[in-house]
Amino acid sequence: MDEALLRTLTPTVIGILVRRGADFAAAEDAVQEALLEALRVWADDPPREAKGWLITVAWRKFLDAARADSSRRHREELLETEPAPGPCEAADDTLRLYFLCAHPSLTPASAVALTLRAIGGLTTRQIAQAYLVPEATMAQRISRAKRTVSCVRFNQPGDLATVLRVLYLVFNEGYCGDVDLAAEAIRLTRRLAGETTHQEAAGLLALMLLHHARRPARTGPDGRLVPLAEQDRSLWDTCLIAEGVDILQAALARDRLGEFQAQAAIAALHADARTAEETDWVQIVEWYDELVRLTGNPLARLNRAVALGEADGPRAGLAALAGLDPDLPRHTAAAAYLHERAGDPAAAARLYAQAARSAPNLPERDHLTRQAARLNAQLRGHAAT
């Protein structure tokens, strides 16, 4: 059973049903049901032509639902005028679907869920498992999202920026449960980048590929976080890096810089260094300057301060950090790191322990606690001698 193919076909078939006159919400429901049926029966009874099978079954599911809903007369009329299956302008449909599922009227969580279902071809159960919520909760979130976009016309031009943000969120959610959300985000962004020539779609794809390339090195065998400087770079996926760099260079050549291209450029500079010591921190600081200029994002300023600590020394990093809001996420962790580099392990240990208490997730908390423990053990060693 080719689940990957099935999922690739999902947005295409939704597009075809919409072209035949189904509204988006009904078409999406029908395709999801056809998908569940395919998951049930394809293993024992694979179809000769997967796409034709999915279109036929989804259309039948749509008609069944329309028949059941007899009060809605316009759907009844469609029954009389069922068009013959045929080729459609699938490419445009897919792009429109991206815009619809990430419509600015949706909350980020709703847009993520709807995108994963209608474009990703994931089942509600898979999405619920990936986000650790009950299936009924995810089903409600999706149906509310569909109601919200029900009055949006399918052929309206959309906002690419919100689509990219949604895909970025999916990628950042990482990996938990059966569905690899990072890989799924890459698949959806790759498809999007094939549908639009916008350089930021390419920038986001490059960014994802360059970060995904480092994934095997990012966690140790016991699940703990391994910081960039300590990663075993031979574990980095050189094919993904090469692809990411190619895509990024082509995007940058068009001279329309955006935040995702700038972030990808930083990731590419890290990927380019054979050892942590070879990292071109001066160029990285310059890219952070671009990122700050483009977004004004305080987190970009925080990362810039850390990069400056590498390029110009920890004192310069601490001076840059001093100008930032101490309540920023990871501000204390960055201060701890820079204090250790500046030769003050006691302050660093205290700050690492403090950062651990406000860490946003368990792997980071463990990592920060370990850093404090390492420095405290070192300090005890000095005191003993």
Partner: protein, 135 residues
Amino acid sequence: MAKYLLLKHYRGAPAPVNNVPMDQWTPEEISAHMKYMEDFAGRLEESGEFVDAQALSPEGTFVRYDGRGRPPVTDGPFAETKDLIAGWMVIDVESRERALELAAELSAAPGAGGEPIHEWLEVRPLLSAPPTITE
């Protein structure tokens, strides 16, 4: 089967026997502790007794309703709050004895010096749905 909540406290439980904060352990002792906790949850999943486990951030805020049309009133965090939950595990077991046995096993997780922490865990039965047959 009955469900029990095993509560771990930052504050509010009696002091454990091996009472050294984690940032004063060696990195190897931290690894040993993490592995023990992970293996413990893994064994419960295999025995069909695991329901849920969550860790909580120590930061919290008290909130209350302040009347129609008004924003919620917030207060805290209170430094003097006696009881501070660090996290929990929910288990589904045959008996109270089994729940206590598992809590004791969890409390034996190694800490400083590789010695068991002997941490006090609070075991609370979850109130279940009423049975169908009551007479």
